[in-house]
């Protein structure tokens, strides 16, 4: 027995025709990539780290403008580990989350409703496209006039920018729903409302998630900009601009890296959520 060659696909001797999802089979069947290939994603950061370090060490860039990478990373870790950076980090997270939640809670229903009556969408399409193309930061002074120099202002403008993205994506998700699924429901005798809640809403989920993911990035960008320029006394944007004013480059880079990590983490979080909730996506 042991002399027999090992079968390439390890089919278990289970009850007749054991059923396994095709995805699971697919992930078992192809040969594993060599170990070094799994290290590929780390090459970029390591190269950047080395370049950064050499540039500072050789004096190519003055240490006054660019701290050595280890110092910046040290400041980041110290700052986030209960330091003052943590407080500003959390303030920015909270503002982004507020803005995002408002945008999602209002934008998704509005988008789905607009999309399901295409005439309604066509009549506001220009407005949505126009303001979606307008850099939201250009509207900061306008929002200053409405909301004053307040915390609400930063959240409001970020929510506005994110809202347009959510509306646009959800509406197009409904408009471009697979016609055949709608027809299938129709032929089974579904009413307009049943088609809406059983098919269109679900069909729009995947594009809606794309919208939510871009919206959270947009909310973060606007919150940071608003924190820089709308008389804030907290938040990562405020911290970055303050550190720059006093040439505290170590702290500035630490804050920039913190903002980057936040954006990256939010993106990953939404990708994971999407895979969990829209489990049929891409199948």
């Amino acid at each position: 027995m042991s002399a027999l060659p090992v079968m390439p696909t390890g089919a278990p001797a289970a009850p007749p025709q054991p059923w396994a999802p095709p995805a699971a089979q697919a992930s078992v069947a192809p040969p594993r990539a060599p170990r070094w290939e799994r290290l590929l994603p780390f090459i970029g950061p390591i190269v950047l780290f080395i370049l950064w370090d050499t540039a500072v060490r050789t004096g190519f860039i003055k240490a006054l403008l660019l701290p050595p990478p280890l110092e910046a990373l040290g400041a980041l870790i110290n700052g986030l580990w209960g330091g003052p950076l943590l407080k500003d980090f959390l303030v920015t997270v909270w503002r982004t989350v507020q803005a995002f939640l408002i945008a999602a809670a209002v934008g998704m229903p509005v988008g789905v409703l607009l999309g399901s009556t295409e005439r309604a969408y066509r009549s506001v399409e220009f407005l949505i496209d126009f303001f979606r193309s307008t850099p939201s930061s250009a509207l900061i002074p306008l929002f200053l006039m409405i909301f004053g120099v307040s915390d609400i202002n930063k959240v409001a403008i970020a929510a506005f920018g994110a809202f347009l993205i959510v509306v646009f994506n959800s509406a197009y998700g409904v408009i471009n729903a697979r016609k055949q699924r709608v027809m299938a429901a129709k032929v089974m005798g579904a009413t307009r409302w049943q088609i809406f809640k059983d098919v269109l809403v679900w069909e729009s989920l995947q594009p809606s998630f794309v919208g939510l993911r871009s919206a959270v990035s947009m909310a973060l960008v606007i919150v940071i900009v608003a924190e820089m320029f709308i008389g804030a006394d907290s938040g990562l944007g405020n911290r970055i601009i303050n550190a720059q004013q006093v040439m505290n480059v170590r702290d500035m880079y630490a804050s920039i890296l913190a903002a980057g990590a936040l954006g990256y983490a939010l993106n990953i979080l939404f990708l994971l959520l999407e895979r969990k909730i829209v489990h049929w996506s891409g199948r």
């Binding site: 055949q180 699924r181 027809m183 299938a184 059983d198 989920l205 049929w280």
Partner: protein, 273 residues
């Protein structure tokens, strides 16, 4: 009372009287007219489809085989004409429909069993009724795969089996099948063909089958409806009366071969015309 003197004479052409089909007719189509890009696809098309029979629709490319059953099923609007099911309109008729592309016909956000039960849910049936009907369907289809899976986790044949079960869930009066085997491999085609025949023998549901495979069309049919090139008319309705269950042996019987040959002759005559 006001009367306009010398008013222009406006008279309506009286509508053609409705002529019912012969006894045993299920679906009556009268004066069906459909334009496609300004050209008539169907013009004053009349057809009687018998009850409790399988009718296969066959014809040249672009003659509108699928369009015909889609118009009957209400998926494609008609420009003129009347379609009645036992004298009722579509609104009062329960129908089932099986699409060629099962991938885009099932709802991937529902488990397969919920997909199959969906027509019953639309009718507002109770949980007990739904469960009873599902048990019936699973037994009659002899389902071996796990219906708690999502449709995209099943093979193509399993998905198409599930979508046929969904189409039959609420005991429709008519079952429409639009090239149901075209996206399947041969093994699955044979299997589902047998299942359909079994279901038909159990229930006698009127079925309208569009097929691009003549052998398949004849094999399942009581009648082969052959269409002409557009503007589409009925070229011929050929009966095929071999007893059911038909099996693989049927395919080599003289009566089957004769029926297929006659269908092919009519088809070729129409294509060359």
């Amino acid at each position: 009372m006001t009367v306009v003197l010398n008013a222009p004479v406006v008279a309506d052409v009286p509508p053609a009287p409705f002529v019912p089909g012969p006894a045993g007719t299920h679906i009556t189509i009268r004066g069906l007219t459909k334009y496609f890009a300004g050209w008539p696809l169907y013009e004053n098309f009349d057809l009687d489809i018998p009850k409790n029979r399988i009718v296969s629709v066959f014809g040249p490319n672009g003659c509108g085989k699928s369009t015909l059953i889609n118009m009957i099923a209400g998926l494609v609007p008609i420009d003129r004409g009347e379609i009645l099911f036992d004298g009722k309109t579509l609104r009062d008729t329960k129908i089932g429909y099986v699409f060629q592309n099962y991938r885009e016909a099932m709802f991937p956000w529902m488990r397969t069993i919920d997909n199959i039960a969906y027509p019953l849910k639309l009718e507002g049936r109770s949980k007990a009724e739904v469960d009873r009907r599902m048990a019936e369907l699973v037994a009659s289809f002899d389902v071996k795969f796990d219906l708690r899976r999502y449709p995209y986790e099943l093979s193509g044949g399993q998905q198409q089996t599930a979508s046929i079960m969904r189409a039959l869930a609420n005991n429709p009066e008519v079952l429409f099948l639009d090239e149901p085997f075209s996206a399947l491999d041969f093994e699955m085609t044979l299997f589902i063909r047998e299942k359909l025949q079994e279901v038909f023998m159990q229930t006698g549901t009127t079925m309208l089958l569009v097929s691009h495979d003549l052998e398949e069309a004849v094999y399942l049919a009581d009648q082969v409806l052959l269409l002409t090139k557009r503007p589409t008319r009925v070229a011929e309705v050929l009966p095929y009366t071999d007893a059911r269950p038909r099996t693989v042996e049927t395919l080599s019987e003289p009566s089957f071969i004769a029926a297929r040959k006659r269908s092919l002759d009519v088809f070729q005559r129409e294509v060359r015309r």
